[in-house]
Symmetry: D2
Subunit: 386 residues, 4 copies
């Protein structure tokens, strides 16, 4: 854990950053939910606040008065322990509480947290604060990608801002990093913060492999498209092929073919696709099909972790071949916080790394992100292994 | 048609009334679409404006410049002739254009219409203006009922205002009005405005019947509920029974049973149900089942029109037994305006009368409203015949 | 009612005809249900038998022993009064009871009915027998069209038999029959059998109209197709256009374009479409769009009944513009038989006439058939009015 | 590979066994498909035959004439390479080809295979024959479980036969087998037949663990039910809990609570549940929830394989915690046979062992079966680890 003074500063910075991310929005942009996996920005602002209220203030501050007793119902996400919740698919129907009132709620909770921690409470409370900060940082990434989805699916394609540059050319050289076989240690160690799904450091035997030093770029992915990648069933999983057919998928998310030239919606507006930038907004199914087409494969999450110090990462969340499963000895925390990760350990794939939407300092070599194999509204990408 | 000076005043009043109806809303309330048949208030405000722009300014004012060329796509409803349109189910995802910008659009179009008509154009243009006014009045009713749906499905159940009183006791006496058999004339006559579906005045032979002078009240409908009305299949159409089972319907829309007492959400907030007020927010299926339970029936639209001068009406749209079909000699107007009514003449039932949400002066004895038999978010009601 | 001796003969003939219609089938053909509105032939054979058992033998023959107590559950159709039923969509999963056992059931019930009626019971029982016969005749038509659907959707396109010729050229001359305005009497009169939905003979005022002496032919319908009829939204109802788009409809049911020539599956196998034969297997939506394209309309059921003696009919069930509604004074019979017709009087359109699949003698000028506007697996057709 | 004479005998035995399994069926039972994952028995009989025809006779016997050219379309399963296929959900609509004709097809292909192999062709062809035999054995298990599903979902609950006894008491003693940590070799070795997904023998590091010598029994599972296991969300994955809620799951498949006593449909008819017999027909979600309730977990497939010689297995397919993923170095065979396994390596869980429905000799310690986590119509079961 960080020193406590620093942690309170990090708390205040984190709270502020969520609001900075929303600064370019119109009030109306906070409200809508154009797909089930996308949450309205106002919900993220409220939910991250509710987390601090529910698990710290309500539980540990005897004098605390709830800002609004209905908010527990509205801003609870999946914590079945705590009470009934608003179904995720319906969040886009909540015009009230208003955006203004949610900002009041944020201010109220932030101030009460600050007061509480200025009294130097004991270590277990600082631990909860650190969890809340990391929780809000996780939501900052979702907030940004949800904003992109909302604006990128509006027929007017509004510009968000120039603050998040999506173009970042990758070195064009193809470089393969060999890794020897043997037993490797996997999982978090040390005293720094981590989520429960990273715990249970354990040994994994790896066969020898090579991993690419570079992410796959738009140039390479366009070759896959032009070679008929989206029409050749033999490159795809059966479930992936069903997804391609039923959804009519012919390119990554946000891509538009305009007069023979690929463009994509970015937070900076509609732009021509830059060939040297790493591909993004692809599903696991697409990442797998691309690897099949190259005659290669995705790394497992263990290979990625064992090799990660040998290449640079952090622009794209990288799909791995690994299913999201518990590490040996994984146990859920008691109570509602125990619902954080364990209940999602089926039907999902692990991603490693981090992205341009990740709050700086939030990720680490042992961080395990996870999504369903068809999801692609995050800044997902792809690194090959062989 | 009204005198032209009066018509321009009516135009300005109508434009203003739409905005007055929205005055109690937060910006966020303008955006959401919690059910497919419900449109966001901002969409109503834009669509009614687009109608004047598309059919009058764009077509007949040579110097007119479009406010925004994208608005034709965003605010077109079902006019396939005019260009591709935003699918109705997706309207709730349109955070842009913003509410503020739509108000600017309204002001711009209203002013251009005013300028154009102050030049005293010829009669055909006045006729279009009258159509546009009536179109906006129709949407005012939808606007108000959609607002009710949005607020009434928010877990906070916010109050809209006290301006629209929903409680209006009905005389408790049961009074039956006999009507003799014979040939009656049905349909609009005279020079006043009407929609194309009222034209084609024609003869209809009616068998003798009696019609109730009063609408069915909440008191009577609660008796139906308490007598197991929602659980007795023999009272329902097969399609109605499927609807009851699949949707889990056990009471009118907006009703909540709280500690043994029926309450309902009104625009004035959550209130105890008033026994003497006419029942509302029921589907045709429920109206039919109620009539079966009473051993009576609904009137046809022809019976209603023949008898309407003998009772008072205007609080509830009244379901009839008639399917929505063209009158003899009905022909569609050429072009996009021809899509106004004719294309809906299948699978719907006719309602007659008007409601507390109807713009004063908008309805008339020959007015034909129509909805699918399961819809009930309008102020629908029920009058018995036998 | 027919003389009783004749009626018993008609009963035996009707029972035999159902089995004759199934003679060309393999056992496997009796079992499947390729669409929700299609019932397996074995179900028709069982259900028509159960009707006699349930309403005559079980109710009026004190010594009768049920053939199998489970059959009431399996072969009940929509009679909610009588007990829980097999959901229509699941009938195709019933491998048992076997076809052989259902034929034993038929024999058992036929013999017991014969014994019962040879004892000359009173008139009310003969009336029930007549209803049962007409019920089985109705199912014979469904049986044949369901067989066509089952074989016509099998990739091997097996031939049923040559017994039902589908080609029957229509006189090519265009002949319009004028009918004067006035009050006409509509509905069944006399002592012959009719269904309850034909009762309540009543007066209807008709405006003057003309009706075609001929059904629309394949030649004319192909012109509609070639003129882009299935791609021009302005010819369709909004609901019809949704149906065309969602189902990808581009021709009547069973039509295949093979090397530039229209073919269709008939009970005699796959054949080239004969230009002079009346069009069939079209939905109400298609019939309406065709009429729009011609600048004409469909007759109402009242116009059809008033004019029917002036033209020949019986090859195709003819869509009318009329919604299926109760006649004045319609009342449901008490008990399960009351569910026969009344509960379907919403969301359906009336067809008049009869088809090559109709049991000879079963239809009459006042007969009202009804289907949902998208259904087209019956031998439906089209006659124009103006 | 087996000696060639023996292999031809095994071929003939396998062909005969499929037909013996169908001997108790009525013709109608061969046709139906009551759920998407269930195939009609006639389809299994045809598909396993088509496999020999397509990959051996058509490809390697120059004089061979196809039995029926349409069968390739009808009996192809998921082999996109070979041509378009009948969608799995539609197999239950195929009344033709008839059962009798499929038996003729079986005889024709069996005889041609026999003739071809009596000529002693080279080794690659024997290898294909061995694959075809194992493919048919796999389908024999599905055939039996599909028959159970068809009969077990018929309201008459017909008895299949007494040949497959489902009751087989397990030793009641609780016995835990400890396994030391270390590097273990996983995957097939030797010359015997295996599927491609077992190849790529590789090292896996295992932490120390204990595995139960016994399968979980009905007695223990009933305790889970009685302790509210199906109503306690904290025991379930989020996806599993959605499945429980949406499907209304309250017990294993085929279970019925009759007068307070649990019964289940077996191939021997409806029986009281035997407490000492291993639980079966549960999904992965249920297996996981049960393990959570016990405070234990499922073994991984690697743990199971490392320990399997220390306990007896073969009554139930056993769910593991492992996702179905490729072993290191896995590559797909070229052409259609390459579609056999690899394309399914996402969204599924691995099962190990074998069941009472498995053809004797078909499974082995390295055999990997796989199903989606909600599927439970196989004889699935559960062994705990800790």
């Amino acid at each position: 854990m960080l020193l406590t003074e620093t942690l309170l500063d990090t708390f205040l910075d984190t709270r502020k950053r969520s609001e900075t991310l929303c600064a370019p929005l119109e009030t109306e942009d906070y409200v809508v939910q154009p797909a089930e996996e996308v949450s309205p920005p106002k919900w993220h602002l409220g939910h991250t606040t509710w987390f601090f209220e529910e698990f710290i203030l309500k539980a540990h501050d005897p004098g605390y008065r709830l800002f609004d007793k209905d908010f527990s119902f509205v801003f609870n996400s999946y914590y079945e322990t705590v009470g009934k919740r608003v179904v995720r698919a319906n969040r886009g129907n909540l015009s009230r509480p208003s955006v203004q009132r949610i900002y009041q709620y944020r201010k109220y909770v932030t101030e009460h947290i600050q007061e509480l921690f200025e009294k130097k409470p004991d270590a277990s409370l600082w631990k909860l604060l650190e969890t809340g900060i990391n929780h809000e940082q996780q939501h900052q990434e979702l907030l940004l990608t949800d904003i992109k989805y909302i604006l990128g699916h509006n027929p007017l394609l509004p510009i968000y801002s120039e603050l998040i540059p999506e173009h970042s050319p990758e070195a064009p050289d193809e470089l393969w990093i060999p890794v020897a076989d043997g037993v490797y240690e996997i999982g978090h160690k040390g005293k720094g913060f981590c989520f429960d799904n990273e715990l249970g450091r354990h040994k994994v035997y790896l066969e020898p492999f090579e991993i690419s030093a570079e992410l796959v770029t738009n140039r390479e992915f366009i070759r896959f498209i032009e070679d008929g990648g989206y029409t050749r069933f033999e490159l795809w999983h059966a479930d992936g092929w069903d997804w391609v057919k039923q959804q009519g998928i012919t390119s990554p998310l946000y891509w538009h073919l305009i007069e023979g030239q690929w463009h994509h919606y970015t937070l900076n507006g509609l732009k021509a696709v830059d060939a040297d930038t790493p591909i993004t907004h692809i599903s696991y199914y697409e990442a797998f099909a691309y690897a099949q087409w190259k005659g290669m494969r995705l790394p497992t999450e263990f290979e990625w972790e064992a090799a990660q110090s040998l290449f640079s990462w952090g622009q794209r969340w990288e799909w791995t071949e690994s299913a999201y499963l518990p590490y040996p000895g994984f146990t859920k925390a008691p109570g509602a916080l125990g619902e954080y990760n364990g209940k999602f350990m089926v039907n999902q794939k692990v991603l490693r790394g981090g992205s341009i939407a990740t709050t700086p300092g939030h990720s680490r070599p042992t961080y395990r992100n996870f999504f369903h194999p068809h999801e692609r509204w995050q800044y997902t990408g792809l690194r090959l292994a062989r």
